[in-house]
Symmetry: C2
Subunit: 260 residues, 2 copies
């Protein structure tokens, strides 16, 4: 069984309620971050970390606008994200997410042990200096996985201060071998628990390759007015059932935890 | 304020729990359908019905496969859908939904008053005889809205038994004027409450035209392995905040009710 979080009451199979903020005796009090103190397990496969994906989507199914997820989730989502980060050894994103906007993959507390930042890249630019905001007291270490090949030597030259570029084997499609990356993180960097924060392509590749253990999904109470996803041809695989492990609500945002 | 449903306990702003079916004292007992006995209000605009949209999406944001939503929701979703239908005067879908598969827009109980079935069509085929499954004891009445124009006379010939074809004004894009349809339903067919069941294009058009009051969203614990929705250009409108009115969980499906 997976660890659950804290002394909350179990719910029955049919549960829920209208939202009634008036009836909240603690209204106005600070509420704990969803996933505060969450204790993630280790992977059953000792060669790789336990891998959890965290993503936020709008009610109409949009997870990013111009590769940016930052406009979708609210403050409870940001606090839940920080709580998840505090329970892992490394935070992974795809290079497109780094290119899209300035982002911080660490914790707010400057005295906290910062998770390792891991970036899965192709041969395109990864503007770490420009876009990765890092705590100055304990500088967050950064690993960039690049596909091995003729470009690798150039990439190595880009390394500086606490950033390491690691050329790794590529698959037939020229993208880095994700299982190799995970095994290297476990073996050489002591990463027992890994949080993946997108983008959607990286999330999907990990799930498809059976390398993701859990999905944390925040459903933001927003319409982004995108055209909904439709599959015009049968998908390459059939539907896959998930197991709902927990759900929470804060300020209209719904926090869902699934076993994959 | 919108009517809420039944004597369930109010929840606080930070709420939720791990799912623990073992601890359910009623495990194995039949649980009531989500939205059983829901009492929808009337529209503040007396010229049209109160309009609620019901849709099911997978965790990866897929609402239909080949226009079919039938493979995504489970039994609790089907029961919630029937409960919503029992609280409205009419159920509306787009013609693409009728073309996609056999479907039933009514209630299971053959003795129940069946809601009016309303189909929003263009000039394409609407295979009512072939695809619309109707209770034989109290035959469900069907209205088909078609855009006025040179095709309208042909369409009228297709009418039979309890099916009425209604040519209505079209907008600049050749599609039926949805506000006109809603006002006609209210005025001539006594429709005070209307449930819309997709597809995504009809849902989106109602929301964009400020004709939808609530969104009922079921989040099914499934991955459909579609490519997630991404907006490559800024959407035509900015994000729109929704208000979460209630949430429930049954068998891993999450039931969300939002005011638009």
């Amino acid at each position: 069984m997976l660890a659950s979080q804290g002394p909350r009451a179990p719910v029955t199979r049919a549960t829920g309620s209208p939202i009634n903020e008036e009836a909240n005796p603690e209204a106005g009090q600070p509420v704990p971050a969803v996933y505060e103190g969450l204790d993630l397990p280790l992977s059953k496969d000792p060669s790789r970390p336990y891998v959890v994906i965290n993503m936020v989507v709008s009610v109409d199914g949009v997870s990013s606008v111009d590769d940016r997820a930052s406009g979708i989730g609210g403050e409870p989502d940001r606090r839940a994200m920080r709580a998840l980060r505090s329970g892992v050894d490394a935070v992974m994103v795809g290079a497109g997410t780094v290119r899209a906007e300035k982002l911080n993959l660490g914790l707010d507390d400057p005295g906290a042990r910062q998770p390792l930042a891991v970036i899965v890249a192709g041969n395109g630019p990864v503007p770490i200096r420009e876009h990765l905001v890092r705590n100055s007291q304990y500088l967050q270490k950064v690993l960039v996985f690049r596909p091995e090949g003729p470009h690798a030597k150039n990439h190595r030259k880009q390394a500086h201060d606490s950033v390491r570029i690691l050329p790794v084997p590529a698959n037939g499609d020229g993208r880095v071998d994700l299982r190799f990356c995970l095994e290297l993180l476990r073996r050489e960097h002591g990463v027992d628990r890994l949080l993946v924060e997108g983008g959607p392509f990286l999330n999907g590749a990990l799930i498809t390759n059976h390398l993701a253990d859990e999905l944390f999904l925040t459903l933001a109470p927003k319409l982004m007015h995108a055209h909904p996803t439709q599959i015009s041809e049968p998908a390459s695989r059939g539907p896959q059932d998930l197991q709902l492990l927990s759900f929470h609500q804060q300020n209209g945002e719904i926090f869902l935890r699934y076993a994959i």
